[in-house]
């Protein structure tokens, strides 16, 4: 009745690998899982010896597994890394409070220094206070935009060389699909790279890029790693979007679909003649931005001026007006 491990070690299999269809026992699964992450790190040259690396830690499954595995591989292969945990406290009572407890557990279990940076310190607003101001309609926009920059700022405070995030293969395949649907060539080219760096912004890397969500959850389960899994109190029904549901349906029919989509994304190249949007620095806060003023600063200005709709939605009137003003300015100048 029990299925034997495909590695012919004689043990009973406990999992069917989605990527390969192999049936593996616990020990062979651990080895395959960890070795693949090591190969991603090694082939992509994600780290250099002596690097200080901040792990973006949310208390969720991905970052918990990432912290555990990076510690293990750092010792196994002598990467020579100094590892830190970096957490962002959005200020959501009853959600982040609990997940930060999980991160503190990670800190103790993995003996890594932890830095918690709050939206309140960074922006003067907690998500609770933002929701009190704007209601629950667009709060995910604020939260997402603020979080991205918060990690960069935290990394600068810690003086690290690189931020490692827990994005897994499912996340990346989802992003590829979204960027194809949006026709966003610039992001499409960037989103599959395991490592991204640019002037003025800190290097980011994704060691779990080729790691399936299913295996991350199975690994955490069998290793008894404690992670936090609940819904954000402000978006309890959100789960994930349509692209995610579509991807999960594809995976059911053909489990290799996820890795196939990532490989396709990696091979898509825009012709050299296509003009890419230039990346520059926000004139207010100095962080990388595709516009004169970055989205975080626009949202913040809206909040502080009591006009929280500022900067929300691509077709918002505010933005159209802004575009009109810019067009007039250009005419006057030339």
């Amino acid at each position: 009745m029990p299925v034997l491990c495909s590695a012919k070690c004689g043990n009973n299999a406990i999992l069917k690998r989605p990527k390969t269809g192999d049936a593996l026992c616990k020990e062979c699964f651990y080895w395959a899982f960890e070795t693949e992450i090591h190969n991603t790190i090694d082939n992509g040259k994600l780290f250099k010896s002596g690097d200080k690396v901040a792990i973006g830690a949310s208390g969720g499954k991905d970052s918990t597994v990432l912290a555990y595995v990076l510690k293990l591989l750092n010792e196994r292969y002598n990467y020579g890394l100094q590892l830190f945990l970096l957490s962002i406290d959005e200020g959501i009572t009853g959600y982040r409070d609990d997940s930060l407890e999980t991160v503190k557990q990670n800190r103790d279990d993995y003996e890594m220094p932890l830095k918690i940076l709050s939206y309140e310190e960074l922006y003067g607003w907690t998500m609770d206070s933002i929701v009190a101001q704007i209601g629950r309609k667009n709060n995910c926009t604020f939260c997402g935009v603020f979080r991205r920059q918060a990690l960069d700022r935290g990394a600068a405070l810690l003086g690290v060389d690189c931020i490692a995030t827990g994005h897994n293969a499912d996340d990346i395949a989802e992003t590829v699909l979204m960027n194809v649907l949006r026709g966003d060539i610039a992001r499409l080219q960037r989103c599959t790279s395991a490592i991204t760096s640019g002037e003025g912004s800190i290097t980011r890397c994704k060691p779990l890029k080729y790691t399936y969500e299913k295996e991350i959850v199975m690994y955490a389960y069998f290793k008894r790693l404690v992670y936090f899994s609940t819904e954000c109190v402000f978006a309890p029904n959100a789960y994930r979007g349509h692209a995610r549901a579509y991807l999960k349906d594809l995976e059911k029919i053909r489990p290799s679909a996820i890795i196939d989509i990532i490989h396709s994304g990696e091979r898509l190249q825009a012709k050299g003649t296509i003009k890419m949007p230039e990346r520059r620095n926000c004139s207010r806060c100095g962080f990388v931005s595709s516009c004169e003023v970055c989205k975080a600063c626009v949202l913040l200005e809206g909040l502080n001026r009591g006009m929280p709709k500022l900067g929300i939605g691509k077709s918002s009137k505010v933005r159209l007006q802004q575009a009109e003003v810019n067009r007039l300015k250009t005419r006057i100048n030339f």
Partner: protein
């Protein structure tokens, strides 16, 4: 809860956020009626009708679990065991883990 030895005793567990659909209760010891041969597929419908507290579409899709929910029987992936066709045995522990929560 139990009513003698005539039923099929199994343990049903939820984790990874799936427990949120079941009043946050992670472990359920149940006694299934002895009137039929129980497969995992039948168990899914039984769970929907007897344990599930809200939003069945987040647990089931058609006659199987929603993609993204992992199923383990006695700590083995149900994909190794024939999934819905697996015949439940006395004392089995069936665990459902959501992969869809948090990150």
């Amino acid at each position: 809860m139990s009513s003698g030895d005539d039923g099929l005793h199994v343990i049903i567990e939820f984790g990874g956020g799936a427990e949120l659909l079941f009043d946050k209760q992670k472990r359920h010891v149940v006694n299934l009626p002895a009137d039929r041969e129980w497969t995992l597929k039948l168990l899914l419908f039984w769970i929907r009708d007897n344990l599930l507290k809200e939003r069945p579409e987040l647990f089931l899709q058609g006659d199987t679990v929603r993609p993204g929910i992992l199923v383990l029987v006695n700590d083995a992936d149900w994909e190794l065991l024939g999934q819905g066709e697996y015949r439940l045995q006395k004392g089995d522990t069936i665990l459902f883990i959501s992969t869809l929560h948090g990150g």
